[in-house]
Symmetry: C2
Subunit: 324 residues, 2 copies
Amino acid sequence: MTDITMIRSAAARLKGHARRTPLLSSPFLDEIAGRRVFVKPECLQHTGSFKYRGARSAVSALDPDARARGVIAFSSGNHAQGVALAAREHGVASVIIMPGDSPRMKIDNTRALGAEVVLYDRATEDRDAIGARLAGERGLTLIKPYDEPQVIAGQGTIGLEIAEDAVALGVAKADVLVCCGGGGLTSGIALALEADAPGLRARPCEPQGFDDVTRSLVSGKIERNARLSGSLCDAIVTPQPGEITFPIMQRLCGPGLVVSEDQCLHAMALAWSRLKVVAEPGGAVALAAALFHADQIEGDAVFATISGGNVDAEVFQTALARFA
Amino acid sequence: MTDITMIRSAAARLKGHARRTPLLSSPFLDEIAGRRVFVKPECLQHTGSFKYRGARSAVSALDPDARARGVIAFSSGNHAQGVALAAREHGVASVIIMPGDSPRMKIDNTRALGAEVVLYDRATEDRDAIGARLAGERGLTLIKPYDEPQVIAGQGTIGLEIAEDAVALGVAKADVLVCCGGGGLTSGIALALEADAPGLRARPCEPQGFDDVTRSLVSGKIERNARLSGSLCDAIVTPQPGEITFPIMQRLCGPGLVVSEDQCLHAMALAWSRLKVVAEPGGAVALAAALFHADQIEGDAVFATISGGNVDAEVFQTALARFA
């Protein structure tokens, strides 16, 4: 199970590979939030999202024989690109299983990063069966997107960096708002903060209608989302919290925060105008919570992750047209 | 006159205040350029442009009595915001003289950073006379945008960071492409590279029709632009190279590179999609040169600055609509 030792080992393996993202801030955002806002822009990470950290952590942790046979992942999005790049950097094959109706650009990007993309028909084919067959035939190792200890450890390296920067800023106590899907990023950051910055507390942030983690933390058991698609924040929507991630979040995280899609678009426009970075809708959830749910946050400072920046031009233009 | 000692002193004064911007890269940009491209995103700097560095360097270098009386600057753009923030951080007054027809947002942003904005009528009033009167009455010190040794020293800190990162990347020889207006950024970077990375060579990049520095380097004397407005890259358009900056560029810089406005818009769209950062048109000039004038560049790696990201939503949406 992931612990701080695994996170530090992941940080050592990622050093010189994952980008050490800075903390960004703007007096204009501080004014909206009524406190200092420090933004961790993982959109600037390789492949445009934090997922590269977990993917590279997992691929680099494999024993050399298993790694040489290659890896496989199910993803149409950020995890796919993270795994593809991590595999290529290790000189091993990656197979990414994607729905045939995935956006062309995501397929092309994943292929351009060296992955073999296998498309399947959502209506007639069984994704897991295809994956199992390919994995069995070739001896590929499955890299899960969040419920995997080495993936959680990789995402946790973000928490180490936030803890280090918080000391430099003189912030000893604050909420750390995290864009949350399956909980890999949230639980990894929570574990790192527990060790290195016990006054900082991770809190999951989710879009309305897909607040499975927030509800699970309230009820004390794993709750599912009523639906799985139709969110602008698709990149961070999962059916339910992970079996591994949920107990970590339950032990360490503060209450969840839930934001509307309009608030995400507004936060995207403000990240554009005030921080000069590109956030995808799901990646703007935590910033939206910091800015527009300030009454649910305590203290004179808050940290917010931007988990990714892989967004279609049309959606981005909508955010600018409405809120910039 | 600015030298490496002044630049190192400026770096010491800026430490903990100016943001240490990372180098960004993308395999997709490398492919377009045919070599590795490392981007220095000064759009992520405080106030959204490199100008904060020079402004803070200059304000912090003033003797305490002069500084206490306050500072004054002529600018409707990035230099104004840099001076305003630097003055506020020192607890001193700043007066910014701007044309009355400046975009509302620029006026508002500069005021929000604590400056007293004095508007003048371009048709009927003499900017310099207004400035001289205010400076005389209040004992304000003028902070020039580029032809000022401490401003050049502040911009030069970017060159120190590029030199340091180049060593870590193992790049000993490369061109460093710099968005160039009056030459403060270019000459500062050139001086820093001369000292810390003699195999790296600064090269000014300019928009077509406003290539005064490029032509001046060819002719060996200061050449003027035929016109001063009408460029999408207004933020970096100046009448001619500075009296102080030009001799430095003449001694140290490689030939200039000239790009079209369409190439700037295209580079903005690629910075958005591949690096997840926001570039203004003038701020994208060097990246455009790296990507679309690769035949004028030597070596297997190139550095490009993004000098700023303060751009109107409409212009940005045009870039996305046309090139994303």
